[in-house]
Symmetry: none
Subunit: 401 residues, 2 copies
């Protein structure tokens, strides 16, 4: 079922604002049997109060058992079927630095790394060099020339950068060169099908020239490539929901993802307080706001339970400010679970809280995984969240006579 | 997934009777925070007793966030994917008055309305003229002649009537002429694509002649047209489930909908007690009975909370009579929610109660929205209700070896 066929047909415009707060990696697990999850351990009085008076549930980011990356996780939240639209890592990184990707462009993410005298990787992130060092190295790589293709090399953050190959007829299906472990040699770029052969060859030539250029640098004396991809053809949120949508996000990947579905990025915030200020400043210009909060995921990936709890509490403290703007619909959820215990994304369903005047009451007494199990939203696929938000905002007409 | 492929393959016949009671617009909302919904407020001892000993849940009529009209709402209950089969308003009205729609017919609903000296609508329902007045006006409109098309004009109820255009090659995709507000002029019928151009022209000529005929009538001196459509090609319940199905409904639209899926209409009841008598009278002739109860929806649309409560209690009082017939499966649910607070259909999931000897117990202690959240049926799409009913009636064989 194409949900967007329905939302295109049924959406109407009004004054109602929708705010989607994504605490990245929100869902968690107890560290030991009998213990609380991160969200259950956190003191979140404002979220608890919202949960009591509104409606909660749990969402499958993709389908039961499927652990999503950030791309599919967010696409689902934006109401796009994450199985229908696949987004390569290179594309996300390119969009996140405001790179205007064309339909013929193949983007790939580059990671500066360290190799030893035999070419074996000793540090996959080159000691996490600072962004300024990354920019200087990228500047050197811009000397690379390849036949009949326009090349762009752009720094992103820390040891990460983006390469864009622009030429008619290029395809994106090329394997990563990152072997994903130290002690191994970077792999050769390999085409997954004959149509992507030219891209693989261009990438191999790029790597060859880059190796010569970086040979005497340290600690970053080599690079790996991940996520060759072309921009997928995704309709905008304006198209499918009639929403003027804004993303207020700090990190490039999430900004890029938002831009991919046509969101505007009205600010370049550096932290949560900036994000709330930006929300207030641009309140009248948009119908929908996506506010991304990264630290619940990064602390989860680090296995830092107290850290994730602290960041949840920090987010909770901003809820009164959010409510003071009087959104018609306020949603707080995550793009996936990142339990500290697993130190990685997981497949566990994600708590979701939807606050609106049209909520039907349930028996939830606070915002947490166990409580959400009894929520009025039940358990559902994340791609239905946005239609629910539109409904509560009065932005969907009746279907059929 | 085409559920009907499965049910066609797996259905078997037996003596078990299934009764589906549809309290139209059953689901509700509290009028103020902390209050009960209509169903929670109503004293429904018989339904509560049934809920305690059987199984409950909540159904999405179409999909989360989607508010259905009566057509899709009922199709879902009958086990038809409401997104696969679209039913125009004109078709529903025509079927509801026993009009035998052919495959080439385009039906449209007419509303008598009142316009002022400048042609602007002053009452979209012409003061809700009685059905007899409607019939007299329709008689006058039967004088209209159009080239190369057979015309039928039939009264329905109050200010509503049906026009059927019969000619080979007509298409139904024509815009409504009802501007949906007073102070506006009725719109011109506009084809949505070139193939429907002839229908649009015929409709325009019809309106032109009708305007002359009605000019000196009052209060109904004009008409608007809504829901041009051809009959969709829907397999019957006999085809897909092997059920001899009967509809026992008072109102035309629901009778029409039932006929569309091949149900027989063995009676013309006027009220709930007639419906129960008809059920008893025809008990041996059918396997499946659809009993439609309108007043929970109409009171919802009127925002009449005590009225909706009263009608729920009236329905509850008939449960012992229903049970005395010993159906193998008794279902009580709605086709959508119509919360008094919203005075309209809504997207909120609909409580459902399924009573059969094969129910697995849950922890529900009464029939209401909050209780149903803990029901054994969980939350599911309405189109799965009929397969569940067939299963509990022993009418579905095992799938696969």
């Amino acid at each position: 079922m194409d949900m967007h066929k329905l939302t295109r047909e049924l959406n109407v415009n009004n004054e109602a604002k929708i705010v989607l707060v994504v605490a990245d990696g929100l869902g968690g697990l107890p560290m030991e049997p009998g213990g609380p999850t991160e969200l259950e351990a956190a003191a979140t009085p404002y979220l608890d109060e919202l949960a009591r008076h509104n409606t909660c549930g749990l969402m499958y980011p993709v389908l039961p058992g499927i652990t999503p990356g950030s791309g599919p996780g967010h696409l689902g939240l934006f109401g796009y079927d994450p199985l229908q639209y696949a987004i390569g890592r290179g594309v996300l990184e390119a969009l996140g630095i405001d790179f205007d990707l064309g339909p013929d462009d193949v983007a790939v993410r580059g990671n500066f790394c360290t190799v030893d005298g035999e070419g074996l990787i000793t540090d996959r992130r080159a000691g996490r060099i600072p962004t300024e060092t990354c920019a200087k190295l990228v500047e050197k790589l811009r000397a690379i020339r390849l036949p009949d293709v326009q090349l762009f090399v752009e720094p992103v953050r820390d040891y990460r950068f983006v390469i864009v190959f622009r030429a008619a007829g290029l395809e994106g299906e090329v394997e990563d060169t990152d072997p994903q472990r130290v002690g191994a040699r970077p792999l050769e770029p390999k085409a997954r099908h004959a149509g992507a052969q030219r891209t693989a060859e261009l990438a191999a030539q790029f790597v060859h020239q880059a190796r010569e250029i970086l040979r005497h640098d340290r600690p970053a004396n080599m690079l790996t490539l991940r996520g060759f991809a072309k921009r997928p053809d995704i309709p905008t949120m304006r198209d499918v929901y009639g929403l003027r949508a804004a993303a207020i996000a700090v990190y490039p990947m999430y900004r890029g993802l938002a831009r991919l579905v046509g969101m505007t990025l009205p600010a370049r915030p550096l932290q949560l307080e900036d994000q709330l200020n930006a929300l207030r400043r641009h309140w009248d210009e948009f119908d929908f706001f996506f506010l991304h909060y990264k630290y619940t995921d990064s602390t989860g990936e680090d296995g830092n339970f107290p850290g994730k709890v602290k960041h949840l509490e920090h987010l909770d403290a901003q809820i009164p400010t959010l409510l003071s703007l009087k959104p018609a619909v306020l949603i707080v959820t995550g793009d996936h679970s990142t339990p500290c215990r697993l130190r990685s994304h997981s497949w566990h369903p994600v708590p979701v809280l939807l606050a609106a005047e049209t909520c039907r009451p349930d028996r939830v007494s606070g915002f947490g995984e166990r409580e959400c199990l009894h929520g009025g939203l039940g358990q559902f696929e994340a791609r239905y969240l946005l239609p629910l938000a539109l409904a509560h905002a009065g932005r969907l007409q009746k279907y059929g006579a």
